[in-house]
């Protein structure tokens, strides 16, 4: 029975090819738009996630405080209020995974006849874990290097390329501020950060060496900045609170006295970026869904025309024994078939365009099986939803009236 009806629905679709094709086009465009928008939206989310994961997650920093001289405030990290002891105490706190006292600045690097300006970071080994740095060539420095202030350096890919060209940097000696440093490792590439900076344009050296040889420091053991990684995003606020409490206590700040340090959540920016792309992708999907809706209305419109045109046919079918249910099924099937065929073509079109966008613009796109599944469910739903009213109208016709219709 159903097979016979499918065959009939197929015939009916074929009876008016141009009209069927145009009706389908509405669905093709609708589904195509949804597929493209989802591919782009999910691609954007994926790209942001990727960037976030290279940056290191659940990070925040504590900067030493500002000082005020004759009414002129120095800005963050102007006064050496933090020290290595603070960092050690913080690492004892619950919920803290990595703590790395850090001092960074831009310096000129020299190797042979080449020179290159880059960000130099003096820090301790936990920094590498917190920022999710990997070593692709050579090895990282250890705590002993920090203790004995050895002149060793890890360099990012950009530095390696610009300073060493085709040479293998590991084992070579470069100069930072006239001081020779042995390159012991090359860092794995991370690409751009969310704000568009090249994360690979960096040199990482032991904190003690940095303070003594590169930046100089007014007080031994003081640090400009401490980077802290919390165990999870949920733990972040609590960990930040604990760190603040601990530092106030260690710095003997009385109630009402302002902090002599600043905290800054590094992951918050990333999270808001992720939230933005999520919102954007939902918005894109919603806009695309409107075209799907329009496609559905197109189906309804054509089915209504079809029911009117075929009133007499409906009457004949009823006269020879078609029940309301049979007529309903017949027209519903037709709507669903148009919808499905349109959906299938739309899916292919959408995939094609999404792949073309990727090929020509390099924009990240993500095509998921679930998107295709959703499109199909939507097509069936649209077909049934918008086919329902015309089909019911057909099924409710009075056989005599329908037979009399010219």
């Amino acid at each position: 029975m159903l097979k016979a009806m499918l065959g009939e629905a197929w015939l009916a679709m074929g009876a008016n090819r141009l009209r069927t094709a145009l009706t389908m086009l509405g669905m093709v465009i609708g589904v195509g738009a949804v597929v493209i928008m989802m591919a782009i939206g999910q691609g954007a989310q994926y790209a942001v996630q990727q960037t976030i994961s290279t940056m290191g997650s659940n990070l925040f920093i504590v900067l030493s405080g500002s000082f005020t001289t004759a009414g002129v405030r120095s800005g963050a990290a102007g006064a050496p209020t933090l020290n290595v002891g603070d960092a050690e105490a913080i690492s004892e706190l619950e919920g803290v995974v990595n703590v790395a006292p850090t001092h960074q600045g831009t310096r000129q690097l020299v190797y042979g006849s080449q020179n290159w300006s880059s960000q130099v970071v003096g820090t301790t080994p936990p920094y590498l874990d917190a920022r999710a740095w990997t070593i692709v060539n050579g090895a990282a420095f250890g705590d002993s290097d920090v203790r004995s202030a050895t002149r060793v350096a890890l360099i990012g890919k950009t530095v390696a390329e610009n300073l060493f060209g085709d040479d293998d940097p590991v084992g070579k000696t470069m100069r930072i501020q006239q001081n020779p440093f042995i390159v012991i490792g090359v860092l794995g590439s991370k690409g751009q950060s969310l704000d568009g900076r090249d994360q690979d344009d960096t040199v990482i050296i032991p904190l003690s060496t940095a303070q003594r040889k590169v930046f100089g420091t007014p007080f031994l053991g003081s640090v400009r900045m401490i980077m802290i990684q919390a165990a999870s995003a949920e733990a972040m606020p609590l960990v930040m609170e604990r760190v603040e409490g601990l530092l106030r206590q260690r710095h003997r700040l009385r109630e009402g006295q302002p902090n002599d340090f600043f905290t800054r959540n590094l992951s918050a920016a990333a999270e808001s970026e992720a939230e933005t792309t999520r919102t954007m992708s939902i918005l894109l999907g919603a806009i695309a869904s409107i075209s799907l809706l329009v496609g559905g209305i197109g189906i309804m419109n054509i089915m209504l025309v079809s029911v009117t045109e075929r009133t007499r046919e409906i009457g004949i079918r009823m006269a020879i024994g078609a029940r309301e249910r049979d007529i309903l099924t017949q027209f519903l099937l037709e709507a669903v078939m148009i919808s499905f065929a349109g959906c299938l073509l739309g899916l292919l079109l959408g995939l094609g365009i999404a792949l073309a966008i990727n090929a020509f613009t390099g924009m990240v796109i993500v095509i998921s099986g679930s998107a295709a599944l959703i499109a199909f469910i939507v097509a069936a739903t649209v077909g049934i939803f918008f086919g329902w009213y015309p089909a019911r109208k057909a099924a409710r016709l009075d056989p005599i009236e329908a037979l009399r219709y010219q």
Binding site: L11, A15, R317, M318, A319, I320, G321, I400
Partner: protein
């Protein structure tokens, strides 16, 4: 009557049908009583507007009466629900129209087989039955043709084959020869005569005395009532 002691295939009692019109209720049928036995061959006659089609539509379960009872094969169908009426139209009786009413986009074979689709019969059986009936009406060789390729008389034969496909015991025909020339009409009436000889009850509406003369019994309508009911003497 037909002289057979069978229970009547059709029995109507006090059957009335009124149409709602702009000028108020219009009584198209006014208390019709009639009994038709199995194997009868009956012509319904009467002037235009006398209620013949209205009556046939009620007999064909295409419409429901305003008041009165209609027993089809012993069952009162006057107030049956729609799905049950559809089932009766599908299996118990076959209806033949003046305008043939074949579906234009389907082959003759598919047209004939269509009632079997609604009876839930499988495809092979449908095909076989349809072929068989097209052969019976002498159109087997046109099975794959489309309705617009054959003449009116041939279309009416196909329509009769379609009415017969579910092996009903009753054929209702509202002016089956109304659109045909007299020669073709004779062919159709011969076909009905053959079917009646096989035991199928036939009720048809006609304006023409020549056509009615083929039947065994003639019932005349006037203003929604039966005014005469007589045997033609054709019956043995």
């Amino acid at each position: 009557m037909a002289g057979v002691a069978n229970a009547p295939v059709i029995r109507v009692a006090g059957l009335s049908k009124s149409y709602e019109t702009a000028a108020g209720l219009f009584p198209a049928l006014r208390g019709v009583d009639l009994s038709i036995d199995a194997g009868e061959y009956l012509a319904i006659m009467g002037p235009s507007g006398s209620g013949k089609s209205t009556f046939m539509n009620l007999l064909g379960c295409l419409d429901t009466p305003t008041t009165g009872d209609y027993f089809l094969a012993g069952e009162n169908v006057a107030h049956m629900e729609k799905a049950a009426l559809a089932r009766l139209r599908n299996r118990t009786l076959g209806f033949v129209f003046q305008g043939f009413n074949l579906l234009p986009r389907m082959s003759l074979q598919d047209n004939v087989a269509l009632p079997l689709v609604y009876a839930g019969i499988d495809r092979d059986t449908r095909r076989e039955k349809a072929r068989q009936l097209l052969d019976k009406v002498g159109l087997g060789k046109y099975a794959e043709s489309m309705p617009n390729r054959i003449s009116g008389g041939q279309q009416q034969r196909v329509a009769i084959a379609r009415a017969l496909v579910n092996t009903p015991r009753l054929i209702l025909a509202d002016e089956p020869t109304g659109n045909l020339d007299s020669h073709t009409s004779e062919d159709i009436m011969r076909l009905f005569g053959d079917l009646n000889a096989e035991g199928i009850t036939i009720v048809l509406v006609t304006h023409e005395q020549d056509i009615a003369a083929h039947c065994k019994r003639q019932v005349r309508f006037l203003d929604g009532q039966i005014v005469s009911d007589q045997l033609t003497g054709l019956d043995a």
